[in-house]
Amino acid sequence: MSTYLVQLLAGLGSAAVLFLVASGLTLIFGALRIVNFAHGSLYMVGAFVSVSLADAIGFGNAEFWIVLLLASLAVTAVGVAMEVSVLRLIYGQSLLTQLLVTFAFVLIIGGVVRAIYGSQPRVTETPPFLQGSVTIIDRQFPVYQFFLMALAVAVAIALWLMLYRTGLGRMVRAAVSDPELLALSGVNVSRLFTSVFALGCFFAGLAGAAVAPLGSVSLGIDISVILKAFVVVVIGGLGSIGGAFVGAILIGVADSFGILWFPETSLAIVFAVLVVVLMLRPQGLFGRAES
């Protein structure tokens, strides 16, 4: 019994990581209709910046929150620079153009990170209040995984409130429906898009900084994270925050039990879930069918 329980919790922990990354990705796609392949790179920047900040100011309980905030803001700044300088030029362009341009950013950011940090993995501590584990029947389970789950839920709630209970959210939803009409009503759509992109980048940075204490930080984590994040976004429905949340849980838990029961084919299970969902609902669980 304890084995299944901790495996379920581990699956939810993985789901939390996936949602933290996928939330920004799907937010940006939903509002700007851009497939940002460099989202994983921004996540990686957040992780590396958090290591630098932790080295500089320490990783005590209070410093941990400061590191999370500053790393997220640093990534936001990088994202805004990307959006203002290049990405806004390719809104409305073909998917291939978007993928090529954002993939160029993957290479550029990867090169810059390598130049700054070198190619060795970096390690950061876990803040004292999140160290250790709790006993679940007869098994130990790391406290930090619970923190990630709580953070993912907090991000989901914050995003929902922002989209459905604020003026910014109303404008974002209006921009998704008809950006030209919104512009005619006096809203600076360009600035609005930059704001949404910045918010998505903030969550990418937050995800990188939050996941960093879970293991180590190294080059390559950008690519390794983005593939499953895309799976989550597609399953949930492109642009749907709620869909990303449910998709992350579905993938995280399916992957976790696949690892336990079918270790040889656990990765295939993730993609089997994707195939089944797309067969039943090509637009994803919460996506709207394109007219």
Binding site: T3, V6, Q7, A10, G11, G13, S14, V17, R114, G118, S119, Q120, P121, R122, V123, T126, Q131, G132, S133, R139, Q140, F141, P142, V143, Y144, Q145, V211, P213, L214, G215, S216, V217, S218, L219, G220, I221, S224, V225, D255, S256, I259, L260, P263, E264, S266, L267
Partner: protein, 446 residues
Amino acid sequence: MSQHRFASHGGDDRRPRFFVVFLALALLLVATASACGGDDEGNASGDTSETASCPLDDGEVNIFSTADVSAVAGDITPMQLRWIESEVPKINAAGGVLGCTLDIEVVDEPLPDFESGIRKYRAALASEEYDLYFAMFDSALVRALPKFTNRAKKILILAGVGDHQPFYEELEDPSYAMQAGVSTLGEGRAAAKFAADKGWKKIAILTPNYAYGQDVADAFKEYFLELVPDGEITTEQKPAFLEKNFQPFVNAVVASKPDAVFGGQYGADIISLYKLWKAQDLTIPTIFFTEQSVLEQLKPAQIPENSYGYDRGAPNILRETPRGQYVWDAYSEEYGTSDHPTPGSYVFIIDSAIQLVQALAEKTNGFDADAWTEAIKAGGFAYESAYQEEPTDVNHLNFEANTCATVGLVKFSEELSQGFYDPEDSAHVCLDEVIDDEEREELIGR
């Protein structure tokens, strides 16, 4: 295309001023030694005659290799390049190899572009500019390379990669491929022997789902079950390299109740797993591929209880041999104040490859590929490496050097300020201890 050429002349050295000064000093020393009638006994780079006449027309022995120059996969290639950069000028200052200037050209592959690597070797072969070839990094690439180098009758020396296929089930006849480092088979079996000697019977496999991880796990599993007939593999988990959250895998491993966990995990993944082990106070012994990049990163508080590792020769163990001590000292002298102050196992491997070149050239008095293989086939050929006190044998059947892997308890050294292998709880297992000629012949189908 990134490219590094290391010789005592020409080339695009990264630190030309250093080389000019160094070369001038070295030449001055050589000239002084000659004038004083001194001998070369103190020359750790070999006793190459300064007056030897190079048998090659251009006066150079040119070696080509691709490697992970852009360091996509960490410090493995950079540490090899550091040793080449340090050692080759010394060899050339001492007269080169048989009087020929040694020139090692290392070109970025770039990883993981297998096709690009193949193209670069094929272009190098077609150019006929190179006398010898090294393979320094990519296992997948090296598995394919002998098909080209053998056809061209060119020597290919594995100087970093651990792949064992070209030397067993895929051994070609005639073959001109030689293994100067520790093979996947060697390290997997060394770890299996260590586990069996510990009395562990139930092993969980937790290894990355790519070629190296699978190969080393297969080598371990097969040999472990041979050594421990009532042994059991409790689960086989194959996470992706750089997995974000290992917790589901750790749960599955713990649930299988193993005596120990083995895997080809390395670099960042080991550190991630150590964190989870520590967070849950797990004491199940682990044996992971704990090489220099991990050892350098470890802090005392991060090493869980019962953390064992394997390496292609742990540096603190290899430095106990004369050649190992030379490499350790020379490397530390050159790079002791850098971010990588002590040599990793790959430094000893590239040194082994260079030593093998020198020894075969001296043995045959030339660079003819057939003469080199005949010298080994005749039996009893050995050269100086860091792996043993005595000369290292090269097997006459498949040209593998009797190199050694280290398996042992990983601890923290205050002196080195990094992880190290505890000599009190380590085994230095050489290839000939885990495979004999009878099995070799069986595996290569003779």
